[in-house]
Symmetry: C2
């Protein structure tokens, strides 16, 4: 499949590398198409992929992963361009984190979320929030965390959610029973606000290889 | 032990009942000391407990559970009175939820939390945020959720956190290995923002008997 990865940071890098290894055609998008991070990635996968602008990557991809820095996510998607995103599934991985003031905080939360902002701005794109609740190494290798553990997804389009859940299973190795569908895109609030306890646990544990498993009793 | 429970709602009721069953002397505090909810609780435990004002309950308790509605938590604690709380451990269970606008939201989050507000207003009280991340039936009966699952606590006083963890184990049956100490009171942010995904899961599952288990891999 032709897949666009927007963002050349750690998250984009991890996902793009795994997708290339899986045999997909991957375009890694950034503002300039020739960022240092992009070129390093390109070299690391032996040239099996391509570097592009946000716009060219989005145009190329049948499916698009938004792995941009949350603070720049909307701006990057505007550069990608609504026509290049129209009708496509956009897997929204970014968290709206602000690291500029010591203890990281969210730039939007509680009554809104970045996932919802993106869906509102690109109403013809099928936004599925996913993967943002775990570290990028865990995203593409869930066995880094022992036992069963949960991955949450949400989005307004049920078919898109089902497709994304299937891809996450197939490409990244998540057991389908561990993928928890939270329904429409407003669940992005909870999935992004999750960052507050995630960052605290990261600080306490000293590494990001952890996650949580949902356990449900009877009514 | 002499224990005060502030708040006669479902949470206060569940904790007070369990503590009476455990053999503690429990004073259930409310604004008026003779609320309907309070009298019902008193009857349900066969009169083994007492009803009191916030102030009398706080004065009576060696340890105090704040189970008031989060929107009224600070006002209730002011009625309880700083001198009655001084030097004591206050186990802060309330969440700052606003149910008045459809989808519940938090009245404080991200850059502050109710736990921190309480600690700032009562600096001589040892505030430990605990139990707020699960439903009240699960609080006092963790076996309602299958397998291991985690309970988070935080607070500025390490000795107080250790004591509270011990009590939660002893009185309510939580395995000590499942109690996760998140450090100082600023972790209340993550523990209260947890509500956003908790409420979503509650809506999805249709009942509150669920929780999450932290699973940690290697560095």
């Amino acid at each position: 499949m032709k897949i666009a990865i927007l963002g050349t940071g750690m998250v984009g890098n991890a996902l793009a590398t795994k997708l290339v290894q899986f045999g997909h055609q991957v375009a890694m998008g950034s503002r300039s198409a020739d960022s240092d991070a992009g070129r390093q990635w390109f070299k690391s996968v032996g040239g099996k992929g391509q570097l592009a602008t946000f716009s060219d990557a989005a145009s190329f991809g049948e499916v698009i992963f938004d792995c941009t820095n949350g603070a720049n996510s909307l701006a990057a998607l505007r550069q990608a361009g609504a026509p290049n995103l129209r009708g496509k599934i956009l897997i929204h991985v970014s968290n709206p984190l602000d690291f500029s003031k010591g203890m990281p905080t969210l730039t939007v939360c509680n009554t809104d979320s970045l996932g919802e902002q993106v869906q509102r701005e690109f109403p013809e794109t099928r936004v599925v929030k996913a993967l943002n609740t775990v570290n990028c190494e865990v995203m593409v290798n869930p066995s880094l965390v022992p036992g069963d553990h949960s991955l949450f997804i949400c989005g307004n389009d049920e078919t898109a959610r089902r497709k994304v859940a299937g891809w996450i299973s197939e490409w990244f190795g998540w057991k389908s029973g561990n993928i928890v569908d939270l329904g429409d895109i407003t669940a992005s609030r909870g999935m992004e606000m999750w960052m507050a306890i995630w960052l605290r646990l990261f600080g306490k544990l000293g590494h990001p290889h952890f996650n949580m498993c949902l356990s449900v009793g009877s009514k």
